[in-house]
């Protein structure tokens, strides 16, 4: 196949992005095409049916299920308040009194004469979708949401946890090799997206959550530290809904891995800018990587017509090795031999020759490199 390599993560000072902001159910779109929106703007809203509450009425009234409809004081469709009596039953001339009380506010949805259960539906839950990025409404998806166009810097990570947040970028590492430890994170980092170098330690991550950082971006994290931060182990690579204090974006992978220089330099240039971040990662069909977006940023000399396009893998393409024995090393493609070549495992695979930053020229399976995209 022609594209037997990992397309690579996008790291660019300027690009045009389209963000689809969609409701989970049909609802109302609140903005129009052409509107300028801020990240916090509500662009669409709806309400999803409230949680149901089941009551075993036959048990509570001590009668047969088929008798329940006769004892109902409230009928399907009627609203009830918490504590209100919704069914009652008297026997022996009123000596035996039983009743069913609504445990919550809601609406009677269903009364079953087969199971003797009553289902109460809690009030609808409002759901709002925010713009998430600063930009312009490019398209309205009727009753469903909008597409927002944003222009600016865009950095994709390889893995993240935690959802969408906004904050000011704060560079806490003096180099791409530096380790971000807890003592670098001070109370004035509250609300910020802090940037580390090759590693964020477990202690630094906990500290960031304690002081209320919006997010942490670093080259790597030790697997055990992530487990401790989350409180559980991740089995499959689908993240974004974790209940964590601050969002984490890892740009290179697990372990201590120097952040790609290009990524680090861009984040250094973005120090002090407002960013929208999202740790959501999904590595199956429809790949989703964590991201950092700075809308409105434009490096000097870039105009609208100059959004560079990827050429694929050719001689001169900047790459990063993404598996041992060269994992994390950067280089440049020297040659792309068309024939399958043997590697140490004995397998014959498609390879490339690359000149690494340390001057070595090595052979790497094409599947084990990713393009550093601009």
């Amino acid at each position: 196949m022609a594209h037997a390599y990992t397309p690579g993560l996008k790291v660019t000072g300027y690009t045009v992005l389209e963000k689809v902001r969609r409701l989970p159910l049909k609802g109302e779109v609140l903005v129009q095409v052409g509107d300028e929106v801020e990240p916090s703007a509500i662009v669409a809203r709806t309400s999803i049916p409230g949680d149901p509450e089941t009551i075993n009425a036959a048990h509570e009234l001590a009668c047969d299920p088929q008798e329940i409809p006769r004892h109902m004081l409230k009928q399907p469709g009627e609203r009830v308040a918490a504590g209100e009596v919704i069914a009652s039953y008297q026997a022996f001339f009123g000596l035996l009194k039983k009743r069913v009380v609504a445990p919550v506010d809601g609406t009677v949805e269903h009364v079953s004469e087969v199971t003797g259960r009553i289902i109460l539906r809690r009030p609808p839950i409002p759901v709002e979708v925010r713009a998430y990025v600063r930009g312009r409404v490019k398209e309205v998806l009727p009753e469903e949401g909008v597409v927002i166009e944003a222009r600016g810097a865009f950095v994709q990570g390889i893995f993240g946890v935690g959802g969408e947040r906004q904050g000011t970028i704060r560079l806490l590492a003096d180099s791409a090799e530096a380790v971000l430890d807890a003592d670098a994170i001070t109370p004035d980092c509250r609300g910020a997206v802090v940037i580390g170098g090759s590693l964020v330690t477990g202690a630094a991550l906990r500290r960031a959550a304690e002081v209320g950082c919006a997010g942490v971006v670093a080259g790597g994290i030790i697997d055990r530290d992530l487990l401790e931060y989350l409180g559980y182990d991740i089995g499959v690579a689908i993240t974004g809904h974790e209940d964590v204090g601050c969002t984490l974006i890892v740009t290179e992978g697990f372990g201590r891995i120097r952040m790609a220089r290009r990524t680090f330099e861009l984040l250094r240039a973005l120090d002090g800018w407002e960013a929208s971040i999202n740790g959501a990662t999904q590595i199956r069909a429809g790949v989703m990587r964590p991201e950092l977006i700075v809308a409105g940023y434009r490096p000097p000399g870039i105009t609208d017509g100059e959004v560079p396009a990827s050429e694929g893998l050719v001689a001169g393409t900047p790459i990063r090795a993404i598996r041992d024995p060269y994992f994390g090393l950067l280089g440049e493609v020297v040659e792309l031999p068309p024939e399958l070549q043997p590697i140490e495992t004995g397998a014959r695979v498609r390879v490339l020759r690359a000149r690494l930053e340390d001057g070595r020229t090595v052979t790497i399976p094409r599947a084990n490199v990713e393009i550093i995209e601009g």
Partner: protein
């Protein structure tokens, strides 16, 4: 194609079939040559269900274009696939397709009793090619509000609701339906669509189910999957699942409306087609079969057993795979179980980081031998766990009354609901999926299959070379013979035959003697001690007459200590005499002894390049020289 003749009624000389996988669309061309069906060429291209193409037929066209280039014939026109009409040689007699693109078919099932109707519903859904997201039952141990919350959070393509034998409980069936109605789960695809629900339970409950579900869901009713306790009737439910798969899931996937017009029989979910293909192969070859497909995210296991190969079970271990779900293999198997297969010492923190990095960069391949050995250790555990899962569903019906002829089995303490997987009766074990099919040496695949499945007695081992089982499965629905011929001649790479004595023994004591009459009249005799592994070369297509003499307490299929005479097939690895132990199989507890044993077995099968292995495991060459 314009005209739609029934495929089976026609003479088929040229068959074009595609499988639209989640990442790759694979096309194969099969033709009749000299009276037998053979694979002619194959092509593949990236699947185009997602952006920027959002049209599955673009990927199909690209894959078929490769077939055109390689065969020098034309199959594509502006309208789709060209129907063959004699003369030119262009076009095909039939075009078929399977699909698992866009996440395949994802279902929730529900029943009254977890181990009875809910389990039958699960088998029906799995057999129809679905991933079962959850099986909800009245007695599943969760409280009503927990069940509702769970159902609410699922986004299935459809729900299969069962429960009660005909004339049995209504209350409990209605209870489950009420929970589903209260939860109001939304479909995975299509924001405004009603979620399909198939009711396949007590027929007396139908009016109640109608009343509860018809307004909120697209409700379909089919025959009960357990009309009486002793009978499982999965056919009607499976058929309805396939109908809904076409109507809902496929119809909403980009480009499928076009593809459905091109094919002459309905598009099948890929796993359903694989299952059909396995069943067909078992029947044609008259042997029980276990097949496994280990992918990046999931591992499917198929088994076909029974006197008439009527017992078919498919399971999906949804979170056991070699890339997206590889961290879950670590989680479920535990570090110790993975490390036990690695023939060198490992830093555990480093191992965990490596596994995570494979998860987040799933398309990478092992470059070093060290990485390959770790990845194959993980594969063994993923396969083992998937097989354990399979055995829990490949069972006889639970809760039924014993008939008189079963009294003997009752006395032997067998209970209903035991697995019918009999490894001694297994004829062939087939592996597929990258880690098995693309192992640098075939002996590695053989070892992984042996370690994970522990086949007993005499068993053929094979791998599916290019994973064309889906296409052969859908072909089996219209031409079983053509499907079986290609399966036999082009699909499988035969690894050889394994011989594994069953029973306890002591390391180093005599376990089995195998005397093999090889082609050309040469006779080889191997005395294999308990704990040992030996290889007798026998090429693909060759047969050998074996006399297998187990030690007095061991069984190779003829009974304890009894000699078995059997003709066996060769393969790229040959005959493997595996006396490492069955019931029990175990690795030495002592770390050093374990490493030594692993190296011995690797050397016995010449499974890895010795020079590199020696660098990684000093002393390996010495073991090889001694062997």
């Amino acid at each position: 194609m314009a005209d739609k003749p029934a495929g089976a009624a026609r003479e088929l000389n040229s068959i074009l079939a595609t499988d639209c996988g989640s990442t790759t669309t694979k096309a194969i061309l099969i033709e009749r040559q000299g009276g037998e069906y053979r694979l002619v060429v194959r092509g593949e291209a990236p699947t185009t269900v997602e952006k920027p193409f959002e049209d599955v037929t673009a990927g199909v066209r690209n894959a078929v274009r490769e077939v055109e280039e390689l065969s020098g014939r034309r199959f594509l026109s502006d309208e789709g696939i060209i129907a063959r009409s004699g003369g030119t040689g262009d076009g095909t007699d039939i075009y078929l397709s399977t699909s698992s693109a866009g996440g395949g078919l994802q279902m929730m099932v529900a029943g009254v009793v977890k181990q009875m109707t809910a389990e039958s519903a699960e088998r029906a859904a799995l057999g129809a090619g679905a991933i079962v997201m959850d099986a909800v039952a009245v007695d599943d141990g969760r409280l009503p509000h927990q069940k509702i919350e769970r159902i609410r959070n699922l986004r299935p393509d459809m729900i299969l609701l069962s429960g009660g034998i005909d004339g049995g409980t209504i209350t409990h069936v209605v209870q489950i339906a009420e929970l589903v109605a209260a939860a109001e789960p939304r479909p995975r695809l299509g924001i405004g669509f009603k979620l399909p629900v198939i009711f396949a339970g007590n027929k007396d409950a139908r009016p109640h189910i109608q009343r509860i579900l018809r307004d909120k869901f697209d409700l379909r009713t089919v025959e009960n999957i357990r009309p009486v306790l002793e009978v499982e009737n999965l056919g009607p439910a499976r058929e309805e699942i396939h109908n809904l798969f076409m109507e809902h899931v496929m119809a909403q996937a980009p480009g499928y409306d076009k593809l459905m017009k091109w094919t002459q029989v309905p598009i099948m979910p890929t796993p359903a087609a694989v299952g059909y293909g396995m069943q067909n192969a078992a029947k044609q070859h008259r042997m029980s079969v276990i097949g496994v497909d280990i992918g990046g995210a999931t591992t499917d296991v198929f088994s076909v057993f029974g006197e008439e190969y009527e017992l078919f079970t498919r399971t999906v271990s949804a979170n056991l795979g070699m890339s997206y779900s590889i961290s879950n293999v670590l989680l479920e198997a535990g570090t110790e179980n993975i490390v036990r297969w690695v023939p060198f010492d490992l830093d555990l923190t480093d191992l965990r980081n490596r596994i995570r990095n494979k998860m987040i960069r799933p398309t990478t391949i092992p470059h070093t031998l060290e990485e390959l050995l770790i990845e194959q250790a993980l594969a063994r555990e993923a396969l083992r766990l998937a097989f354990e899962h399979h055995k829990t569903l490949a069972v006889g019906l639970k809760g039924i009354q014993r008939r008189e002829e079963d009294i003997a089995r009752m006395l032997s303490q067998e209970s209903t609901g035991q697995t019918y997987i009999d490894l001694m009766a297994l004829g062939m074990l087939i592996g597929s999926g990258g880690v098995l099919s693309h192992a640098p040496r075939r002996a590695q695949a053989a070892l992984m299959l042996l370690d994970a499945f522990l086949p007993e007695g005499v068993t053929q081992l094979a791998v599916d070379s290019i994973f064309m089982m889906p296409q052969l499965g859908v072909l089996a629905t219209v031409h079983p013979e053509a499907s079986a011929q290609v399966f036999d001649r082009d699909c499988l790479i035969r690894l050889g035959t394994a011989i594994a004595p069953v029973g306890p023994g002591r390391e180093g004591e005599p376990a089995v003697t195998v005397q093999a009459e090889l082609p050309g009249g040469r006779t080889v005799t191997e005395h294999v001690p308990y704990g040992g592994l030996r290889r007798i070369p026998l090429d693909v297509g060759q047969e050998a007459q074996l006399e297998i003499r187990p030690a007095r307490h061991l069984d190779v299929g003829a009974g304890r200590g009894r000699t078995l005479r059997r003709k066996v097939q060769g393969g790229v690895v040959g005959i493997i005499v595996d006396a490492r132990g069955r019931q029990p199989f175990g690795l030495p507890a002592d770390g050093k002894a374990r490493l030594k044993k692993l190296v011995e077995w690797i050397v016995a099968l010449d499974a890895y390049p010795m020079e590199t292995l020696e660098r990684l495991v000093p002393g390996a060459a010495e073991v090889a020289a001694a062997g």
